[in-house]
Each structure stands twice: as C-alpha cells, then as structure tokens.
C-alpha cells in the first residue's frame, strides 16, 4: 500500500511538472499517465472528473487529482495525489520568486516585465472570451455578467459576495417556470 501511495505521489508530481498553464493543458497528460499507463481511471471517468472539477470551487488540476486518487486508493489516496500535483509548483515557484525579487530592480528585468504585462492582459482577455462563450448564453446570464462586472469594478465588495449572490440567482432563475434558459441552458 505504501509503495502504491509513493507511486501515486510520483505520478501526479510528474503530471504537475508537465502541465504548463493548468486546467485544460493537463487533460492530455492525465490521459496518458493515468488512463493509459496506470489504468487508475477510464477515459469516461476522467472526462466526468474534469467536468466536475471545472464547476466546483478550486483549481481544476487539484480537483481532478483528488478525484482520481480517492477513486483508486481511498481518502488517503486523494490527499496524496493532490500533494503530488502541487509539489513541483511549490519547489519551482519558491526558487523563482526568490530570484525574481532579487533581480527586479535591474533595468532589463523591468523592460522585460513591461512587455510581459501587456502579454498578460491579452492572455486574460482571451481567457475571459473563452469562458464567456460558455457562461454568458442568454439574457439572464448577461444580466448577471453585467451586474457582477459593474459591482467588481465600482465597489470594494469581496468577491465572495458576488459568488454567493450569483449562485443564489442561478438557483432562483432556474426554479422560475420558463426562465433561465430551460433544462439544457447550461453550457457543457
């Protein structure tokens, strides 16, 4: 059992190292490692875990790791797989953060980050666009989108408030007859 848990940890550490960008980038790597190499989950199970991981709180990669670990090796497996997938981040980012902080006053580093920040804007915009196509699908979701966008830009309210507000709105709208885009209104 202990050897199995070590194997689980190492496999997910490998997945963590090979994932750049998280989320969707992780799916093909999980398919190879977990489904084809180890047989810990089927293709269908992986797709299910991923879908739920996307719509439950937290980082998608972590959610998926917890699912697979728990399914194969129980609750301990869920914890071990999750620690495995975050372990490389912990090491790499701790090293890098120290280095970047030390060099952040150098002129060329400042210039590099001036360019990088522009790129980050574009990447965030692209992420919003991609999410929006699946999330903002009818007049009600437009209303929630605009209301929360205005609230987030013009008030100092905590994001937690918006999350709770939107969740309640969703439940109420879906409960209204004929509103909320019908049964299949949610994008998959």
């Amino acid at each position: 059992m202990f050897a199995k848990l070590i194997e689980l940890f190492l496999t997910f550490a490998k997945v963590g190292v090979m994932t750049f960008g998280g989320g969707y980038a992780m799916l093909p790597i999980l398919q190879r490692e977990v489904v084809e190499n180890k047989g810990w989950a089927s293709e269908e199970e992986l797709t299910d875990y991923f879908a739920i991981g996307q719509c439950t709180p937290g980082v998608i990669a972590v959610n998926t790791a917890t699912f697979i670990g728990r399914k194969s090796f129980g609750v301990v497996g869920g914890v071990v797989a999750t620690l495995g997938v975050v372990f490389p981040s912990l090491v790499i980012l701790s090293l890098l953060a120290g280095v970047i902080t030390q060099f952040s006053e150098l002129a060329w580093v400042k210039n590099a980050f001036a360019g990088i920040r522009v790129c980050v804007c574009v990447l965030i915009f692209n992420a919003v666009w991609k999410l929006g196509k699946k999330a903002v699908i009818d007049k009600w979701t437009w209303a929630i989108f605009l209301l929360v966008a205005a609230g987030a830009v013009f008030t100092k309210l905590s994001p937690v408030v918006f999350v709770l507000f939107a969740g309640v709105c969703g439940v109420v709208l879906r409960a209204l007859p004929g509103a909320g885009g019908g049964k299949d209104g949610a994008a998959k």
Partner: protein
Amino acid sequence: MIYLRLFWEFFKTGLFAVGGGMATLPFLYDISDRTGWFTHAQLADMVAVSESTPGPIGVNMATYVGFLTGGVGGAAVATLGVIAPSIIVILIISAFLQKFRDNRYVNGAFYGLRPASTAMILAAGLLVVRAAFLPDGTLASLDWRLPVLAAALLALTNFVKETKKLHPIVFILGSAVVGVALRLAG
C-alpha cells in the same frame, strides 16, 4: 501569525474561486487591497510567471504570493490553504458523484456562477491593464508602443492560424524580448 492569515486568505480563495486558475485573480486583488502583502504590479508579474512555469496556475500564484509574504514556509502554507477546500469538497462529492451532477440546485447555482466568474476575471483583468499600460495611473504615462504590442498579440493569439495554437509561454517570452529590445519600461 502571518502563516495563519495566509492559510485563511488562501483557503477562502480556494473555496470561492470557481472555474480554474484565472478565477483566483479577483481574490488575489482583494487580498492585495486589504493586506498590502504585494502590489497590483507584482500581481501582474505573478500571472506571467505562473503561466510560464509548470503546474496549475492557481497553485503557482498561491505559492508565489506565499513566498513573497512569508518565505518558503509561507509558500507551503498558502499552497495548502488553496488546495484544502478542493480536497474537502471533492472527497464529499466523489461519495455521491451522479446525484451531484443531476441535482437541479447544483445546476442552477452553476448557471449563475459561470457568468459571475467571467465578470470577476474581466474586472481583475482591467486592473492588470492599468498596471501594464498606465504605470503612474494617468493617461499621460501611456507609451503608444504598448497598445501596438497588445494588438499584435491579440492577432497572433486569436487570428493567425500558424501561431494561435502555440503555448502562452511563447508569447510571454516573446513579449519579454520585445520589452528588453525596445526598452519598454522607459
């Protein structure tokens, strides 16, 4: 008690950020405003580093912020904080997987949560735009070369067939080279 606060702040982030990596961004801005642990400009840099290094973005951001705030211990605590809600929630859900997927209240909640999450990331993105384009917060400080670079990147990531499938790290590194070559920091 910095560790306890770090854990708590990132626990909340992990619990309420729905929709993956970028969804943590609005929470990080909120933390920045309330604690002053890091600036908005630093946060924009963290996004770039998190996108360019292995691992899930949300976890990378937590580790980075944790390290800046409390060293290696801080990095570990922030990371554990952001993953703890995931572990708890997923362990509960996996016990009754199918019921969860078909539950109409769960479906309804996510019908509302998805557009809200999109809106919050957009709002956080506007803060990154300000940090990127208006270094001292006024329109006078806008360097005309920055919008040109942004337009080029938008085209390359969305419309040019040869480049739009490339990994974000390619564009981040390319922008760094452009920044150094043109001395974009002024």
